[in-house]
């Protein structure tokens, strides 16, 4: 059994049989990227890092993390493009997109990981379901990772139908709320569960629309809401999130226990599940560090800083240590109190200047960030 198999195919994503497997897999990955991606090799040389320095988990912080911003401005590959079977882009909310490309090996372990992860939460089932995708319809002109992720999620239960809140209009997208509401009316009578999958803001628009129309559904037992992506409009506050879930429970008849929320990034294609205390616990095939933004040195547990995620999943690109633009706090699992022992992080917002007032040409688009 390879290190990657031990890590990504474990039944419990939060436990591994071998504690050495993660470190070895990371070391192998860094070595592979170093020898197959000249630009990455130059970065390691510039930062004075060698994979041999990875003697223990305490050395993981020494791997130079590549920021998501770096992938927005540079394309790095460690395998020929022809060997990549999936490409995706970030949603580019600030005008720049990261492009990633995954080869067969990455997909093999990635799909295995996803199946194990979602099985663990009993989200994979043979009972068919209708899907309402609170996101974009797949299309030849869009390559956002979020579209591909949402489509992937519609395979967790055999799909009876898929309705998209943002319909492909040939080059652009247009809102499709009328269709979504009509399909919910049909699905509510069908007796089959409904899965609503996608972005929180679109769930908000949907439940507001249902409220406005005075419509209330009782969707079949087993119906679920699976959310991922930005909470910016809700200020990232737990109160805002719970208020939305409560509105959704009222409008759709789906109990809170069947609502799930994930964190992921196109440059770090792992799923993190938000626990009942609002934190994301780290699976055994990843590590989360928080770094001081100025010195990039790791900060103490409980102190805020930039979130750095590490995983050996991706072979086709040097995504082994990625610095997100999320501000987070990392804590030991037992401090969370939700029952999970795995370390966890909570998100405080995105790097950026809140409420910036500038009339310098091109500046406002670049600098805005803030709430989640």
């Amino acid at each position: 059994m390879t290190n990657l198999s031990k890590l990504f195919f474990a039944r419990n994503p939060y436990k591994t049989k071998s504690t050495e497997a993660f470190l070895e897999a990371v070391r192998e990955n860094v070595r592979f990227q170093q020898t197959h991606c000249p630009a990455y090799a130059k970065i390691l040389a510039q930062r004075g890092f060698s994979p041999e320095e990875l003697q223990s988990e305490a050395d993981l912080f020494k791997i130079p993390p590549l920021p998501t911003l770096y992938f927005k401005r540079n394309r790095l590959l460690s395998v020929p493009q022809s060997e990549c079977v999936l490409t995706a882009a970030s949603s580019g909310t600030r005008g720049q997109k990261s492009f990633v490309a995954f080869d067969r090996k990455t997909m093999f372990y990635g799909i295995g990981m996803a199946v194990r992860f979602f099985q663990y939460y009993h989200l994979i089932t043979p009972i068919p379901a209708h899907y309402v995708v609170l996101g974009y319809e797949p299309s030849g002109h869009a390559d956002m990772g979020a579209i591909k992720t949402a489509y992937g999620v519609t395979k967790f239960a055999p799909a009876l139908s898929r309705t998209y809140a943002l319909r492909d209009a040939g080059g652009t997208y247009e809102p499709n709320m009328d269709d979504v509401v009509r399909s919910l009316e049909r699905h509510a009578k069908s007796g089959f569960p409904v899965r609503l999958v996608g972005f929180p803001p679109l769930l908000y628009f949907l439940v507001r629309e249902l409220e406005r129309r005075g419509v209330q559904f009782r969707l079949a037992r087993g119906s679920k809401i699976l959310l991922g992506g930005g909470w910016k409009r809700f200020g990232g506050e737990a109160a805002g999130r719970e208020a939305l879930f409560s509105m959704a429970e009222h409008a759709l008849g789906i109990p809170r226990k069947d609502m799930f929320e994930f964190f992921s990034a196109v440059e770090h294609p792992l799923a993190y599940m938000r626990c009942k205390n609002g934190r994301f616990h780290v699976p055994a095939y990843a590590r989360a560090l928080v770094r001081d933004p100025a010195t990039l040195q790791p900060v103490q547990n409980g102190e805020p800083g930039l979130l750095n995620l590490i995983t050996p999943l991706v072979s086709s690109m040097p995504l082994v240590s990625v610095m997100t633009d999320d501000i987070a706090i990392v804590r030991p699992g037992e401090d969370c109190g939700c029952g999970s022992e795995s370390p966890c992080f909570e998100l405080l917002g995105r790097a950026g200047v809140r409420g910036i007032k500038t009339c310098a040409a091109g500046a406002a688009e670049r600098a805005q960030g803030g709430g989640i």
Partner: protein, 433 residues
């Protein structure tokens, strides 16, 4: 805030007034202009109320240092004073006397008179405090009727000042209409546009492009778009105090203004010289920043930290070098592209030999604004000429980049002149033959 004929209305009620707005405005037009003198008197009275401790506290609560709050209030007080406004009118509109003359190729005597365009729709942006009210005051000074579309999120300072102006001069109530419809409410904006002779738009390229799409061809568009400023340094003997002045300006404005220095061009083609200058300037910038520290903000530090770190990583392959200090940075680049900086005291330094100034900068047409010129007297005429030819509209010392004076053109133009037209009419007198 929605304000129609001096009455504050809810957004719904304001929307209901849209259908009759044109008629209301025509009534106001038929009643004649509100003469400039009355507007100046109201502004002057308002000026006298500015600068109190309560106002300083209000600005400090909005994140300004006390010293800066006092400075900004003193500026507002000066800009609304009778002396300032009267001088401004003289400089921007020239001789407003209506002298009769007979053109050299004409037979009849004529008079040429400046008159207001009529009705201005101001589409304000939220990127500067009290921008909305200053735009409206310019409209009033040019004797126009003004419709103001407030920026998303409103503009509290502007709303307060407008209400006070109306209290001081109640006739302003029929010359200022305020709406807070969201920009996405295109129908409402189009209705407002139909009432206007010209739309005055503030904001970035996206806002300007949107207005260009929406406004009908019979309505003029007056654009006050976002601009970019930079410094140009030539010669090795630029004195330390000139650099210190530039650094002080960078720290004072945090590179947020159209006139702010985003980066520094060095009159050289050598990357080594660019790096040497960046390192030298970093020391000056750091010393300046230590006197005027930025308040801590984790989210801003994280954004800039990520950007600087990414630049450092890219320097493994590209011609660039990052020089970091405590909360300041200078990044040397091998290219000459004019870009916005990362702001908040992170300045770029790039090569630009003087003979390439026009070629490199000209493509930034209509975005260029202020350039600080730091050079010896022997180069001044040549460099000033090249910068103006490229499209720069203001050339200053380093410390003065964001300093404004009475009668200063705005982005190369006089607003009051743009808000007026010249009417020529024959007076009946004939040339003697």
């Amino acid at each position: 805030m929605n304000l129609v004929s001096g009455k504050q209305l809810s957004r719904e009620d304001a929307r209901a007034k849209l259908g009759g707005l044109q008629e209301t405005i025509l009534d106001s037009l038929c009643n004649g202009v509100l003469e400039r003198g009355a507007v100046v008197a109201a502004c002057d009275a308002l000026s006298g109320q500015i600068g109190g401790d309560e106002q300083v506290s209000l600005l400090c609560a909005a994140g300004m240092s006390e010293e800066k709050a006092k400075r900004e209030l003193a500026l507002a007080r000066r800009m609304l004073s009778r002396e300032y406004l009267e001088e401004r009118v003289r400089r921007e509109l020239g001789d407003t006397g209506e002298k009769e003359f007979v053109p050299s190729d004409g037979k009849e005597a004529v008079r040429q008179v400046r008159r207001p365009l009529g009705v201005l729709l101001h589409i304000a942006a939220g990127n500067a405090d009290a921008l909305s009210v200053f735009s409206v005051i310019e409209g009033l000074l040019s004797e126009n009727i003004n419709i103001l579309k407030l920026p998303g999120g409103g503009d509290t300072f502007s709303e307060m000042i407008l209400l006070e102006l109306i209290r001081l001069e109640p006739r302003i109530a029929d010359r200022v209409f305020v709406f807070d419809f969201p920009s996405a409410d295109r129908e409402a904006l189009e209705r407002l546009g139909e009432c206007a002779d010209a739309v005055v738009v503030w904001g970035g390229d996206a806002a300007v492009a949107e207005v260009r799409k929406r406004v009908k061809p019979d309505t003029a568009i007056i654009e006050w778009g976002h601009k970019i400023g930079f410094a140009y340094v030539s010669g090795k003997s630029v004195p330390e105090d000139a650099l210190f002045g530039l650094a002080a300006h960078i720290c004072d404005t945090n590179q947020l203004l159209c006139s702010s220095c985003q980066g520094i061009y060095v009159d050289t083609g050598s990357f080594d010289e660019v790096q040497a200058f960046a390192e030298r300037f970093l020391g000056v910038l750091e010393a300046c920043a230590a006197r005027d520290p930025l308040p801590n903000d984790l989210f801003r530090s994280a954004q800039i930290g990520l950007e600087l770190y990414t630049e450092e990583l890219e320097s493994a392959e590209a011609q660039k070098a990052v020089f970091r200090g405590g909360n300041v940075a200078a990044i040397a680049y091998g290219d000459s592209e004019l870009t916005v900086s990362y702001q908040y005291r992170t300045v770029w330094v790039k090569p630009l030999p003087r003979e390439k100034i026009v070629r490199i900068l000209k493509p930034n047409k209509n975005h260029l604004q202020t350039a600080a010129l730091l050079c010896g007297p022997e180069s001044e005429a040549e460099l000033t000429g090249a910068l103006a030819c490229a499209g720069v509209v203001r050339i200053t010392r380093g410390d003065n980049m964001s300093f404004s004076y009475c009668g200063m053109p705005h982005d190369g133009e006089f607003p009051l002149a743009r808000y007026t037209r010249i009417v020529s009419f024959e007076t009946g007198a004939r040339r003697s033959t």
